[in-house]
Symmetry: C2
Subunit: 304 residues, 2 copies
């Protein structure tokens, strides 16, 4: 395993769209800077970024502009996984060449019931074709969406075959017994496990994990990063409970439109609420309810 | 609804890959000609074509070369659905400009539990952006893979809003009661329903459907096309039973690698067996079993 410059907590950064539906690069850059100033790294082009609603070419164009505009690639982990080897290699190579500290890679997610042999062959082909010793892949396990769980045997094969390139994973299985098994089997070998949901952040840190990459980091970066840094403090359970309270306040709303609505609300910039189809923005009523829920727990965001 | 030049039966054409893993365009062209000479149209870039394992750019490059090489766009229905509006519009516009009689369009398949509002907005945006009166969309309902069932209310909204562009569907739900409901509600309005599996071909024709687009057409085009043309004949049930026998012989093997193995076997061209990951080719043992199963029912292919 290689050393890393990645922060323990990263936001799967929501993507701002302008009136023409294009990514507003300057706004995205400001959001990345705000996240960094709140101790979080940036996992752009993740599920919360509506990554798969953005073409590969548009994503790589935006990445180039962000870095040219001052985004630090050392805290950046773009999502580069697509259904085809060719598109995954294109995006991954671009990210590695741009100096990104890692890439977040979905398994090919079209076919279902695929075999471990097929998944292994897929990642192997991507790694061979990228052919760059700087490559740091964080496998993205999100079976609630992909319907493709990445089992321990597959992880073992990948880590054994490519110990220099397979750097870790984001686990959004929602299944703590699975996460725990991954941590137990692989973290001592330098494999970095990010919880895909901050409700597992403290447990992940205590079991030898690296941090989290979670939707809520978009709106609550500092407290997530603080807990990841202070998980051994005596009040760690209390810190986790505070994070859990924010999630509980928002759990009844759809995740991505809600993260965008929260940022729109506190930045007083309604443009942030735009999503691309097939997602749908919150209704006015949902927005009001959301604001009320957050007011009830005294949650607010400043500095946007 | 517009008139169409599409045959009733189309093959979701398997994609031949060369030793470098690239599409062998000349071989694909010959296969398309063979299918046509056996009365089938060509739904290139479908699920059986490993469409999502091929980049959008490679697909459109291949389409251009196929048509330049003599493929008749009037019998061609390329798959052009991707997860993003941008990629779907790119491929759809290319296909329409090339004169293709229709396009087969998946719903955006990354997010799950998406709303009808979101799906409607997606297709509406694609149609508006393509902005071409020749556009003929065949919706591709394949919930076993996409996990996104397209309900009757969504179909009603789309057909009502875009009667000139929403031309029909390929239904691979595997749920005859759903197919029947679609046929009952929409076929009298000119909406063309293709069964996504030839086991439903006769039932589809009897209920007012148009034909089928099914993996098995790759290896048994003429008999599928014959049944679609002669479904009112007195021996139609017998013809259907003959198709069913071929499927039954192969049902225990994984579909796409098996279609390729069958063509490789009868064409004596082992290159046909290549697949792209995450799919995996049949093992030697599976290939032998497959050949034996087909021998047992006296199935063979000539003219390849």
């Amino acid at each position: 395993m290689q050393a890393t410059t990645l922060p323990a907590v990263l936001a799967p950064v929501i993507s701002p769209f302008n009136a023409q539906g294009r990514i507003d690069v300057q706004k995205l850059l400001r959001q990345c800077h705000w996240l960094r100033s709140n101790d979080a790294g940036v996992a752009i082009f993740g599920t919360n970024s509506e990554s798969n609603s953005i073409s590969s070419i548009e994503k790589m164009d935006v990445l180039e502009k962000l870095i040219a505009g001052g985004l630090d690639p050392k805290i950046t982990m773009p999502g580069t996984g697509a259904c085809s080897v060719a598109e995954t290699v294109f995006m991954t190579s671009s990210a590695v060449k741009a100096g990104c500290a890692g890439v977040l890679m979905l398994p090919p997610f079209y076919y279902k019931d695929v075999s471990d042999d097929g998944l292994f062959a897929y990642f192997a082909e991507v790694i061979e074709q990228v052919g760059d010793s700087r490559l740091q892949i964080y496998l993205y396990n999100i079976p609630p969406i992909t319907k493709i769980p990445m089992g321990l045997e597959l992880l073992e094969r990948l880590i054994t075959a490519y110990p220099n390139s397979i750097a870790g994973m984001k686990d959004t299985s929602g299944d703590w017994s699975y996460t725990e098994a991954v941590l137990k089997q692989f973290s001592s070998r330098g494999f970095r496990v990010f919880a895909g949901n901050e409700i597992f952040l403290l447990r992940t840190m205590r079991a030898g994990g690296y941090g989290c990459i979670s939707s809520m980091v978009n709106i609550d970066p500092r407290r997530n990063a603080y807990l990841a840094a202070h998980w051994q403090d005596s009040n760690a359970d209390q810190l986790q409970a505070e994070l859990d309270q924010v999630r509980a306040a928002l759990v009844k709303f759809p995740t991505v439109p809600t993260m965008k609505a929260v940022i729109a609300h506190f930045s007083k910039d309604p443009d942030w609420a735009r999503v691309r189809p097939p997602l749908v923005s919150l209704t006015a009523e949902q927005k009001n309810q959301m604001a009320l829920e957050l007011e009830n727990i005294n949650f607010s965001i400043s500095g946007l």
